[in-house]
């Protein structure tokens, strides 16, 4: 028995060594010709029973994969179908698995699956979540996992719905920051003609464009914020409760770009210029507010530009400009 025990250990170790690719029994026997195939099979059975390894069938071959030691204990008490369901849910990772897919994968009857899930939930091994992508589906995943961004929709979603207010306030804040909020940049000046000591810093306050409307910045002006800086500001001011990544902020900035409020361009790279010390600038994109364009259109000043029935309006039809009440109102001012 002690030999069998050690065989179990050996097999488990080999499985762990093989990692994600798994191990076949022929691989194992090739590596350890001294082992008896029969005893190896017994050892494998034991391991499977204890839930230390997993079996997969790939192209007619059985592949064995080792499970992490810490995962092992949990499924210990499970038997048969429950374990099967548990394993399938575990293999779906942080994406979660839909009950229908669960049924297809395990080939179990729906009532059986329901029963198993109930047990698993009672034991606090799995949890049910809802996906943003498919709001009607009930997904299951292991208790200890946090759902992936795919499922939750990222920081913008609360209760599977896009939090419009949150997005809007944040976008406005960012716009204000880019437009108005003075940004303190530290300038490390190494230029000798300035007679600054090497590490002298100087504070500069700048906006997207000069206060005086008739002025412009020169094109070497570089005090425009990047996404990382915007993120820093948002986090420092505690505008958002949720931790936002630079990518999240970039999404908001893109929205501002599409709104025509902000422009995105590659900053002029200049060694002497504004390099904040603790900044993770991996992109050179910086953002600049666009001067307010007056959005007015001559067309909308007359009734036709906003007319709800313009499509039916013809020269002599039932809706026509001669008897148009909108015109009457407009001309009466």
């Amino acid at each position: 028995m002690s030999q069998a025990k050690s065989l179990e250990d050996l097999f488990y170790e080999e499985c762990t060594g093989a990692g994600a690719n798994g191990l076949t029994s022929t691989d194992f026997l090739g590596k350890h010709p001294e082992c008896n195939p029969r005893e190896t099979a017994l050892a494998m059975n034991n391991l499977l029973l204890k839930g230390f390894i997993d079996v997969f069938h790939v192209r007619g071959e059985s592949i064995y994969k080792a499970l992490k030691k810490e995962d092992v204990g949990k499924a210990d008490s499970l038997q048969g179908e429950e374990q099967m369901v548990y394993n399938t849910i575990r293999s779906s990772g942080n994406e979660g698995i839909w009950t229908k897919h669960l049924k297809a994968k395990t080939n179990l009857h729906e009532t059986v699956i329901k029963r198993c899930l109930k047990v698993l939930e009672q034991k606090a091994l799995v949890k049910a979540i809802k996906s943003v992508k498919y709001p009607t589906r009930k997904l299951y995943m292991l208790m200890e996992l946090t759902p992936s961004v795919e499922v939750t929709g990222g920081p913008w979603f609360t209760d599977q719905e896009l939090d419009i207010d949150f997005v809007e306030t944040l976008t406005n804040q960012i716009y204000k920051y880019i437009l108005m909020k003075a940004r303190l940049i530290t300038i490390r000046s190494d230029i000798q003609s300035f007679r600054f000591s090497d590490r002298k810093t100087l504070m500069l306050i700048s906006n997207s464009f000069p206060r005086d409307a008739s002025c412009v910045y020169t094109s070497s002006h570089s005090a425009y914020p990047s996404a990382a800086q915007v993120r820093k500001y948002i986090m420092e001011k505690r505008i958002s409760q949720v931790d936002l990544t630079v990518d999240d902020i970039t999404m908001l900035l893109d929205v501002l770009v599409y709104d025509g409020k902000v422009e995105r361009f590659i900053a002029q790279v200049d060694d002497d210029w504004g390099e904040d010390d603790d900044m993770d600038t991996d992109s050179d994109w910086v953002y600049k507010a666009v001067r307010d364009k007056k959005t007015e259109s001559a067309w909308q000043d007359c009734p036709c530009g906003v007319c709800p029935v313009a499509n039916f309006c013809t020269e002599t039809g039932p809706v026509n400009p001669a008897g148009c009440t909108y015109y009457a109102k407009w001309l009466d001012f």
């Binding site: 005086d212 530009g305 020269e315 001309l331």
Partner: protein
């Protein structure tokens, strides 16, 4: 060439929109003959006199009179064709010219601005006669001015008018009319093509045809670039003659006189006006984005490049030299103080750079601007070219954005912009990138699609084209969006014009009374109610007319730029 002088009023009643001709005459129940003829021509296409007479129920003589006037006013063209033993003349409406007539008020305003009072008088006189020679034009203006009112002698006035006329010809705001201009363009092209293909022994292949067309186009452009027709230059040897009073220019010691040929007819060159308006609008773009100074620099560059522009469809302007630009900048321009420097740039003494350095910096700003309209001419230093195609694209885009934003709101603009930037996208992607819930996005997409800005492209995943297994991709196709919007604008213009005639027709009795000579002489014959009514009418008409012009400006941006 017909030389009749036609009444201008006949034309201002025409509706220049998508074949919809206004049938409203304010003063009388019977529609004017000109209107009937043009109506038939617009709606039914080209046809000979007999057909027009049949459709309008007018006498052939009347029809001929109408066509005569219309050709004089450049709104009708004809083509002659051999049909068996006789030659038949077909008539049709010259649409571009007709559509440009809405812009007449603007043309008058800017001739006043660019060529002062005399220019406006010349423009007005030429517009009311269609085409005129310089002498006829001067005579016409002199006959309308009451002597002694302007404080100038007749001689002085004639001189200054001549000067204005010559300048307008030189700057191509007036263009010489040749007899061939009254022929239809397609017929001319076809005739030329035929001449070329006749040279070949075999019927031409498609490639040959294309090359023939290309050379013909190049030739036409070449002709455009060449010296201005109707303007002759001579050394001023005839200094003592009467001719010497023309506009002259000093070139070293020689005096070169440019004078307008007296036997050439001129018409208003709408295209040149449109080019100038376009240039003004480009400068305006920079003024809005950067500052007025940048706008002025841009406008100077465009003015320098303008001479060689032929129409609004060119891709690039001719290069402009930086030195030339520097010399031609307006006097009141302030390059130094309108630039905000970073502290490091100024140097230790805090001195601002010199003017020409500032100009360099300004040009750098213009070049770096994200619109990417101005760029350095590759190969030659100190030369800048303007990407006119890009500029027109931006102006069209801005206009569509403005319309969408005022009509629907800014979330819609977001979607349009995103699709312009990213190309084709699915509903879900749009929702993700625009950070709007899918159900909102769906509604917005359909609204924009019905409006004509968006297009839907379906890409089936399988051969059976099941809707559930199909990608539905949305995109903005600019030319289509532009066309859709132009259509709507034409519709509005038609409506405005129709309403204008309705407003006048409603008060026909009153207007008739006003036209009476005794009432004209003494307006106390109108009672207070009538006066009030007249005031309301004028107010309404003004609104409608102004609105029509504003819409026409939008159409010009979308159609001609």
């Amino acid at each position: 060439m017909p030389k009749a002088k036609g009444p201008r009023t006949a034309y201002s009643k025409k509706n220049p929109g998508h074949g919809r001709s206004s049938t409203y005459d304010a003063n009388s129940k019977d529609r004017s003959t000109h209107e009937q003829v043009s109506n038939v021509l617009i709606r039914k296409g080209r046809m000979p006199v007999g057909m027009i007479a049949y459709l309008t129920k007018l006498k052939p003589r009347q029809v001929r009179d109408c066509l005569f006037v219309m050709i004089q006013h450049n709104v009708a063209v004809y083509a002659e064709q051999q049909e068996k033993s006789r030659i038949v003349a077909y008539y049709e409406i010259h649409r571009p010219e007709l559509l440009n007539r809405v812009l007449i008020p603007k043309v008058l305003r800017y001739s006043q601005e660019w060529f002062e009072r005399d220019g406006a008088l010349v423009a007005q006189s030429i517009l009311s006669h269609g085409k005129l020679t310089i002498m006829d034009c001067l005579a016409d203006i002199n006959s309308t001015i009451i002597p002694g009112t302007t404080g100038r002698s007749k001689e002085q006035r004639t001189q200054s008018l001549k000067k204005a006329f010559t300048r307008m010809v030189k700057e191509k705001c007036l263009i010489a009319v040749r007899p061939s201009d009254s022929l239809t363009k397609t017929d001319k092209d076809m005739a030329e093509e035929k001449r070329e293909t006749d040279k070949l022994t075999m019927p031409p292949t498609a490639a040959e045809m294309a090359s023939i067309r290309k050379t013909m186009d190049a030739l036409k452009n070449q002709n455009h670039r060449n010296t201005i027709v109707g303007l002759k230059r001579s050394l001023n040897e005839t200094d003592l003659d009467g001719m010497s009073e023309e506009k002259r220019r000093r070139l070293d010691d020689l005096v070169i006189v440019e004078e307008v040929e007296t036997d050439v007819y001129f018409k208003i060159n709408f295209e040149r006006f449109i080019i100038r308006w376009r240039n003004m609008q480009i400068a305006g773009l920079y003024e809005g984005r950067l500052n007025p100074t940048a706008g002025k620099i841009m406008s100077t560059i465009l003015t320098l490049a303008e001479e060689r522009m032929i129409n609004c469809k060119e891709d690039l302007s001719t290069p402009v030299n930086i030195m030339l630009l520097f010399q031609n900048l307006p006097k009141d321009i302030n390059l130094v103080d309108t630039m905000e420097f970073d502290t490091l740039e100024l140097g230790p003494n805090n001195t601002k750079p010199k003017i020409n350095e500032c100009l360099d910096k300004y040009l750098q700003i213009l070049e770096d601007d994200l619109m990417q309209i101005m760029k350095k001419d590759s190969g030659r230093a100190g030369q800048y070219v303007i990407n006119l195609k890009m500029a027109s694209k931006i102006m069209k885009k801005n206009l569509i954005q403005e319309v969408v934003s005022t009509r629907f709101g800014s979330p819609y603009v977001r979607i349009v912009n995103m699709l312009l930037d990213k190309g084709k996208l699915e509903e879900k992607q749009i929702s993700k990138f625009s950070m709007m819930p899918v159900k909102d996005v769906r509604e917005k997409l359909t609204t924009l699609c019905t409006f004509g800005v968006l297009n839907l492209q379906e890409v089936p995943k399988t051969n059976d084209r099941t809707p559930s297994r199909t990608f539905y991709l949305w995109e903005v196709i600019m030319p289509r969006a532009v066309d859709a919007l132009i259509d709507r604008l034409y519709h509005t213009m038609g409506n405005l014009r129709q309403r204008r005639f309705v407003e006048r027709a409603k008060r026909a009795v009153l207007l008739n009374k006003c036209e009476r000579t005794d009432v004209k002489a003494d307006d106390s014959l109108l009672n207070s109610a009538e006066k009030k009514e007249l005031e309301t009418l004028n107010g309404a008409l003004e609104m409608l007319e102004v609105q029509e012009l504003r819409i026409a400006e939008m159409v010009v941006t979308l159609r001609d730029f």
